[in-house]
């Protein structure tokens, strides 16, 4: 098949218009020649013999008449052993190896294969010559860090195949042939460990999708207890700048109870990803005893990197997540921030001069966001095992106002909403998830009824607090005042969590159930105080003690002592009643 070529007839921003001869496809990858390098680009619109392409790099220096070569392939990523612990850009170029090649700066047109070609993997075959296989079936496995990485029949192959040849156990590089497969027509295909998959298409090689029922424990109390996330579910974290979205994502990426975490740093500060990059290799995952980096893949297309590649980066990330789901692993994809991705869509749409929707976002914004979140989910694979992809996306709404297109489109398709509030972050109440506005449809670590009771206290306390600003403490009844103090107590000692404390920073499900039981009882206790000063002093002391309790490990004798002290304090206060 001869490759289609074309010539540039227009350049504006990162968009080129190309006149071509032959066949081109929507979303096909092409290379615009600039001297001896090719700038990678993607077809986004075709009109007659003209195609509009978004270029994944800076377009300075391109001119009318320059040559463009179409590749015949859709935008794809490499899937295979060696993805874990890597740091890629939005188009899956390995950044550390690019740095070895190009130094401090990213060089235009520089590309490297995503998976190292010099590393050997210990392959163990799991099929015999003559076995029948279809796409997604295992051919063998290799150990990748702490996981057994399944080598599968390439997902893009259609129809049934017979194994004509399979490599014996041994060490192979990712691109070496490990099997030959024979299709019904008798055509033989060579298969290596690495395969390619077009990122804009979901991998659907499973038997059925499952309802998200099992909680995904993040060890953040306000999330797990009040606004839980489910394995295979989707959630979003909108918040104004400085409210702690990224810190929350970082904490989640450390503690989340999943096998693999894919971090998509999409159009955000490079400095943030640097922290993850430098610290994860040193942090030990308590579940496995190995470094956190071994279970992490980072897709990093920061704000200064080309905007079209930013748009692609979330698809690169979700495709890698889906790939590991096929190995019956639980994967968490954290996208920070989906607003930057939506803005990339807006920039492209603007350059195509499409009719703008709300706030100049394209009219298809809603469906694009819905399609992205729908790629998550728990599945039962054809072999009966299960796996999941959970998606958590941050949103950076303009002006911190949630009434904007990206937040609204996202809220329609997620099961949990963790709205960060400026008021809480200004008051240094972290995590700044608003306990009154946020919601979750998933089941958490404690029963729904208990949580509802606690939320009622919070709401009532908030109302009293508002009222008190007008009428002062003097004008507030004792009962109302105690309700207010109880709500504050719940907030201070349970909802807030010190991310930098070793014990308090990560609260297990067991610990949350235990603590919530104790604190729930305090909220229900019919306390009585002689006056407001005494009430305030009592809750002040109770909060102090509970905070100390938060910092004591459960197996520390101190934990028990403090709990007793708390319970005694409450008994004393109720005894007066």
């Amino acid at each position: 098949m001869s490759r289609t070529t074309g010539t540039i007839i227009g350049v504006t921003g990162n968009m080129i218009t190309v006149k071509f001869d032959g066949v081109v496809g929507q979303n096909e990858v092409a290379f615009a020649k600039l001297g001896d390098v090719g700038l990678m680009s993607e077809v986004v619109r075709v009109r007659g013999t003209r195609a509009d392409l978004q270029v994944f790099e800076d377009t300075a220096g391109l001119g009318v008449g320059d040559r463009v070569e179409f590749s015949g392939n859709l935008l794809s990523v490499e899937l295979g052993p060696g993805l874990l612990a890597q740091v890629f850009d939005g188009l899956q170029n390995p950044l550390p190896r690019l740095a070895e090649m190009c130094g401090f700066f990213l060089r235009r047109g520089a590309r490297l294969p995503a998976l190292p070609r010099d590393r050997r993997w210990d392959f163990t075959p799991e099929v015999k010559v003559g076995d029948s296989v279809v796409a997604g079936d295992p051919l063998g496995s290799v150990p990748e860090g702490i996981f057994t990485h399944r080598v599968m029949v390439p997902f893009g192959l259609t129809g049934a195949f017979k194994v004509a040849q399979i490599a014996p156990a041994g060490a192979y590089t990712a691109d070496l042939e490990i099997a030959r497969l024979l299709d019904a027509q008798g055509v033989e295909r060579s298969v290596a460990m690495v395969q390619r998959w077009p990122v804009r298409f979901p991998i659907r090689l499973y038997a059925e999708r499952l309802r998200p029922t099992e909680p995904l424990v993040t060890k953040v109390r306000i999330i797990d207890t009040f606004f839980p996330v489910a394995r295979g579910g989707a959630y979003c974290i909108p918040g104004p700048f400085g409210a702690g979205k990224t810190v929350l994502q970082q904490i989640t990426s450390r503690h989340a109870d999943v096998d693999i975490v894919v971090i998509a740093a999409c159009g955000e500060r490079a400095g943030e990803i640097v922290e993850t990059l430098r610290e994860f290799p040193r942090l030990i995952d308590p579940r496995t005893g190995r470094s956190l980096m071994e279970r992490t893949v980072i897709i990093c297309n920061t704000s200064a990197m080309p905007v079209a590649a930013r748009e692609a980066s979330v698809y690169t990330a979700v495709t890698i997540a889906e790939y590991y789901r096929q190995m019956s692993l639980n994967v968490l994809l954290l996208a920070d921030s989906t607003s930057r991705w939506a803005q990339a869509l807006r920039e492209t749409s603007g350059r195509l001069e499409e009719i703008p929707g709300e706030e100049a976002f394209p009219a298809y914004l809603d469906s694009v966001i819905a399609n992205f979140y729908e790629r998550g989910g728990g599945v039962r694979l054809k072999n009966g095992a299960t796996g999941s992809v959970t998606i958590g996306g941050t949103i950076s709404p303009a002006g911190g106002n949630f009434d904007e297109p990206v937040t609204q489109a996202t809220l329609k398709v997620v099961g949990a909403f963790h709205g960060l509030s400026r008021a809480r972050s200004d008051a240094r109440r972290y995590p700044a998830i608003d306990p009154l506005d946020s919601w979750s449809k998933y089941a958490g670590v404690v029963s729904r009824d208990e949580v509802e009771t606690a939320r009622r206290t919070l709401r009532a306390g908030n109302e009293v607090g508002q009222m008190m600003k007008v009428v002062g403490e003097e004008g507030t009844s004792m009962d109302d005042f105690v309700t207010y103090l109880k709500a504050e107590y719940l907030d201070d000692s349970y909802l807030q969590q010190d991310a930098y404390d070793k014990v308090d920073g990560a609260s297990t499900a067991e610990r949350q159930r235990h603590m919530f039981g104790v604190i729930g009882a305090i909220l229900r206790a019919p306390t009585h105080f002689p006056d407001k000063t005494a009430a305030r002093r009592f809750f002040h002391q109770l909060t102090q003690t509970t905070k100390e309790w938060n910092r004591a490990a459960m197996d520390d004798p101190e934990f028990k002592t403090l709990q007793e002290r708390i319970e005694n304090m409450v008994t004393e206060a109720t005894a007066h009643a």
């Binding site: 800076d58 391109l62 001119g63 700048f241 490079a270 990339a344 106002n401 002062g472």
Partner: protein, 443 residues
């Protein structure tokens, strides 16, 4: 061989269209007509129709203007000879010095590979307690100063520039009032800092297109100095003018506006510039401080809003003081654990008590009874505002921490502050009523 073109098809705003072949995107051209000669840059190619943004403005450009394409993108000379000099936004001398043409470097270079970045950990001392104590500035940080027009953000920038221990200062002025430009120049000169300063100044009277070039030129030069192992501080004032210039061009080019008329890529455009802040692994660093005026004192205005998402914190300048609550240095945790052991405790305690003071003030103005505790807080707040928050206070960090203890000791009992006993024992001043002047460094 480059050809000359004579036929201008369209003139709109500062953009002219000309029919020409073999032109590259972002290429530079020279436009000569009765109005004089100006450089221009290619901003759109459509078949043989080339759109050029004219640096000096299209005013006076005639339809028979001569356009000569130069075969390269915008470049700026780089050498140590830049130090002490003042240039326009188009990189031509604004002072009486000679034009420089050696060692030309392209502006708007590629981004730094994130894998080559390191976690910043060096504090930049400014002598301003509201920064040093509460929101420490860190080398390679990018921080905007959010202020209403009329706040003293330029004097603040100048002061930080003078007091920060950096090797090179680069001042990028955008839409600067001529007085402000003179203020910067005189101030740096009087304090002997002019010899380590390069200025790229676009004043409000200059052509708007040159305003767009200022950040790129300033940062390209900064990058070269940083690669020569220099610690560079870049001051940009005012980024809202830069954004407005972008808006103007975008509207001229008939781009679909997104929010309040600003182009959809405002975030990306600002981010590309701010992300030039970097600490090179084996070389120098770039720190960026940028004034961003908030139209109508509204932080949700697209320019401060997008900026806040990009930068590593922000300083709010309000009524001539750095606001302690909204202001934030996201990187302060990287450095304030290594200064003095009481730094974080003092930082948190003083702020918490000041928040308490504000509540007491509110209570008082609502007419509620002030308790004894309220009165203590009120007394404390008054001293805190006068001795710490006031921008004229100029003391090193250690002295500011000592002063913090001093104020605390004058207003409160040790236990009321909630500071860990270990630190109280070590730092709480022995005698309470000592006037500050006679204290020998606090201990």
């Amino acid at each position: 061989m480059r050809r000359l073109y004579h036929r201008v098809d369209r003139i709109a705003g500062n953009v002219i269209n000309v029919r020409a072949g073999d032109v590259k995107y972002r290429e530079l051209a020279e436009v000569s007509s009765r109005a004089g000669t100006s450089r221009a840059q290619v901003i759109r190619l459509n078949n043989d129709e080339v759109s050029l943004q004219v640096f000096a403005g299209a005013s006076g450009v005639t339809t028979d203007a001569q356009i000569r394409f130069l075969g390269h993108a915008m470049r700026v000379p780089f050498s140590d000879a830049l130090l002490g000099r003042v240039f326009t936004g188009g990189a031509t001398p604004r002072d009486k010095g000679p034009a420089l043409s050696e060692n030309l470097i392209e502006i708007g270079g590629p981004p730094v590979n994130p894998a080559k970045r390191i976690i910043p950990d060096k504090m930049v001392r400014t002598g301003i307690p509201m920064i040093d104590v509460f929101n420490s500035l860190v080398e390679s940080q990018k921080l905007p100063i959010f202020a209403r027009a009329g706040e003293p953000y330029n004097p603040l920038l100048a002061r930080i520039a003078l007091q920060a221990e950096v090797d090179v200062i680069i001042l990028g002025g955008m839409g600067l009032k001529h007085d402000d430009y003179l203020f910067f120049r005189d101030n740096l000169e009087e304090n002997g800092a002019i010899s380590r300063t390069v200025m790229f100044i676009h004043t409000a009277a200059d052509p708007i297109v040159e305003c767009l070039l200022v950040p790129d030129i300033s940062l390209a030069v900064a990058e070269q100095f940083a690669l020569q192992n220099k610690r560079v501080l870049v001051l940009l004032t005012d980024m809202t003018n830069f954004s407005n210039a972008m808006k103007e061009i975008a509207i001229t080019m008939e781009q679909v506006p997104s929010n309040r008329g600003y182009p959809g890529d405002l975030y990306s455009q600002l981010a590309v510039r701010y992300e030039k802040a970097v600490d090179f692994d084996t070389s120098g660093s770039i720190t960026i401080l940028a004034a961003t005026t908030m139209p109508g004192d509204d932080v949700t205005h697209p320019v401060p809003d997008n900026t806040g998402y990009i930068t590593e914190g922000q300083f709010y300048l309000r009524e001539g003081r750095i606001e302690p609550f909204g202001s934030l240095s996201r990187l302060k945790q990287q450095v304030n654990g290594k200064t003095r052991e009481d730094h974080r405790a003092i930082m948190n305690t003083l702020i918490q008590l000041y928040a308490g003071h504000n509540e007491s003030v509110e209570k008082r103005s609502m007419g509620f009874r002030a308790s004894e505790w309220d009165n203590k807080l009120l007394r404390y707040g008054e001293r805190f505002e006068k001795e710490m928050m006031d921008l004229s206070v100029n003391i090193p960090l250690e002295q500011a921490l000592d002063l913090g203890w001093e104020i605390l000791a004058d207003c409160f009992e040790p236990m009321e502050t909630g500071i860990p006993t270990r630190l109280i024992e070590k730092f709480w001043p022995a005698k309470k009523e000592t006037p500050i002047s006679s204290v020998s460094n606090g201990r």
